[in-house]
């Protein structure tokens, strides 16, 4: 670790005893970062900022929220009408969840495209999938809190998934509910967990970052950094780039919060929960739709649940399913085509999840589900035997000299 020199005597005194400033200098200032990162590398820091935003607005909402079946809905309406700026805080939290998922999904597809999950970043990837799982649990329980019709019936349907487990399923569901239906006990435990899980996510994000800084970021051409000629200090180069990306992100986010705050929500959730009447068509939040489509594609209760959880479980083992040693899709012509097919497949699943489970939609859901698993379980291991990869550059700096790859144009401009 390079010993940082601090001028301020107080900083120096503290740093000698608690090297927090050296640490920050090392990890955020000098931290050598590949010089060819494109804007897809902005999404990690955006996810971090989204997480912090969710925690801050969440703490503030909790100050005004009442976790009781008789008061929850009214307390949320009170936040919207009476609490000072309550509408703004709630809309930030509500839309923040959607934008958090958008950012993280882009972040994940970035990893899939550039092979960032490959050695030596397997644990980094696994920690990422773990974050995704925790985010899903948190978002699901958060959606229950306003105690609208979608909250209630979403909670009923999702908790009932566990009843598919043979023998103990029913007891597990009763245990999850703390009763014989989704009721006050359920709401209270969901509030407790929804409050605490984001802090667990913070913990896993820290591990994620420790793992990231062990070998540094991957990069668009996917080859290892060979020396200082391939890197730039994180500050100011990537702090500025991340901040610029943040500005663009916040502009879009603010537009949604102020002009289309309910675009990604469902109007039925502004009707108070009624355990006697299910809405005609219940759908989960958009970010769960692809998984929901997989659940409904399988004509068997237990099978549907297994495939749905399997679609996330398979992500954990991707580092070992993909047997190619070439990381970036830029040098894998066939893999690249299939990457776009996978992306289209996931979007299609999302669409199908929002459609009624009948007729052509069911058939399409089955095809899309089959492709999803084919992609990871069959294509990933077998493709390396068929595919002829393009020659890799010698180093990140090399294409600058040869002027052949698209990355070189970027690098050239930067050099000037």
């Amino acid at each position: 670790m390079s010993k940082a020199k601090f001028k301020n005597p107080v900083v120096k005194w503290i740093d000698h005893r608690l090297p927090i400033f050296s640490f920050m200098d090392h990890e955020l200032n000098h931290y050598p970062t590949p010089k060819n990162l494109n804007y897809f590398w902005n999404f990690g820091s955006l996810a971090g900022i989204a997480l912090v935003t969710m925690i801050i607005t969440g703490i503030v909402l909790s100050m005004n929220y009442t976790a009781h079946v008789d008061y929850a809905f009214d307390s949320v309406e009170r936040i919207m009408r009476d609490v000072n700026h309550g509408w703004l805080i709630r809309y930030i939290h509500m839309n923040g969840a959607s934008f958090f998922f958008i950012v993280v999904y882009i972040h994940i597809f970035r990893g899939l495209y550039y092979g960032s999950y490959k050695a030596p970043r397997e644990l980094l990837w696994i920690l990422g999938v773990l974050i995704l799982l925790l985010m899903m649990a948190t978002a699901f329980m958060g959606y229950v809190l306003p105690w609208g019709q979608m909250s209630f019936w979403g909670a009923t349907v999702i908790t009932n998934l566990f009843s598919a487990i043979p023998l103990v399923g029913e007891s597990i569901v009763t245990w999850l509910w703390g009763g014989f239906s989704v009721d006050n006990s359920t709401l209270n435990r969901f509030f407790s967990l929804h409050f605490v899980l984001p802090f667990v996510i913070v913990g896993v994000v820290i591990l994620h970052l420790v793992a990231l800084h062990r070998f540094g970021s991957n990069n668009p051409i996917g080859i290892d950094v060979k020396g200082t000629q391939d890197t730039l200090p994180f500050n100011p180069y990537y702090t500025i780039k991340d901040l610029f990306g943040l500005g663009v992100f916040l502009t879009i986010f603010a537009a949604a919060v102020f002009f289309f705050p309910n675009f990604m929500g469902h109007p039925d959730n502004y009707i108070e929960a009624n355990p006697m009447v299910t809405p005609a068509h219940i759908v989960p939040e958009w970010y769960f739709l692809p998984f929901y489509a997989i659940l409904r594609a399988i004509p068997d209760k237990l099978g549907g649940v297994l495939f749905m959880f399997g679609s996330i479980a398979v992500l954990f083992v991707i580092p070992w399913l993909d047997r190619s040693s070439v990381r970036s899709s830029q040098f894998r012509p066939i893999f690249k085509i299939f990457f776009w097919i996978l992306l289209a497949d996931c979007v299609l699943l999302g669409y199908l999840g929002a459609m009624p489970a009948e007729g052509i939609y069911v058939i399409l859901s089955r095809i899309a589900t089959a492709y999803y698993f084919f992609h990871f379980l069959i294509l990933f291991p077998l493709l390396p035997y068929i595919e002829k990869t393009k020659p890799l550059p010698i180093s990140i700096s090399e294409p600058v000299l040869s002027g052949s790859s698209p990355a070189s144009a970027f690098a050239f401009r930067e050099k000037k």
């Binding site: 503030v60 100050m63 009476d82 609490v83 700026h85 805080i89």
Partner: protein
């Protein structure tokens, strides 16, 4: 950085400083306008402010009796004073009081003394509303927390409290109906 380029091109350097300063300023304004709603949400909400008045019917309150009503989450004392209590309150010399105030400045109708029942020391509720209560050396109210004595006008006469019991804003809607707040 600036010393080196001053000799070279301080015109451009000035532009750069302007950009940097205006960027920080905009970021500062942005951050402040995000933080303010987060702070302001802890202030009383619109419905809390709307609950800010209470009506009290005094017709059944006999001479010598007292009632306590809740206003903005706090107790309000209403006492129907006896002739003797009124006399005491009016004749006490205000010169040696800690917070000198004439009784006539603290009542609208001298029969009824209306006070916020919160000790001005550290916020306990003084005793003296119920018939069996300790009323302190001056016969009005006594705060058990740290021993503040209030007289028949709710003025602090002895003990640590710095000021008299507060008189809330109120009006008589009729002879026996008052609206507080």
């Amino acid at each position: 950085m600036s010393t080196k380029s001053k000799t070279k091109n301080n015109k451009d350097e000035g532009k750069r400083d302007f950009l940097a300063v205006s960027t920080y300023a905009m970021a500062g304004i942005g951050a402040a306008s995000f933080v303010w709603p987060l702070i302001d949400q802890m202030n009383p909400a619109a419905d809390t402010l709307a609950l800010a008045s209470t009506e009290i019917d005094l017709s059944s309150l006999e001479e010598g009796q007292a009632i306590t009503v809740k206003w903005r989450g706090k107790p309000v004392f209403v006492r129907h004073r006896t002739a003797e209590e009124i006399k005491n309150a009016q004749e006490a010399s205000i010169h040696d009081m800690r917070d000198p105030e004439k009784d006539s400045d603290r009542v609208t109708n001298e029969k009824y003394i209306i006070l916020v029942g919160v000790c001005t020391h550290l916020g306990c509720v003084p005793l003296g509303q119920k018939s069996g209560d300790v009323k302190g050396q001056y016969g009005g109210w006594f705060c058990p927390c740290h021993g503040s004595h209030y007289d028949h006008s709710g003025r602090i006469r002895k003990g640590p409290a710095p000021t008299n019991l507060a008189v809330p804003s109120y009006e008589f809607l009729s002879d026996t109906l008052i609206k507080i707040g």
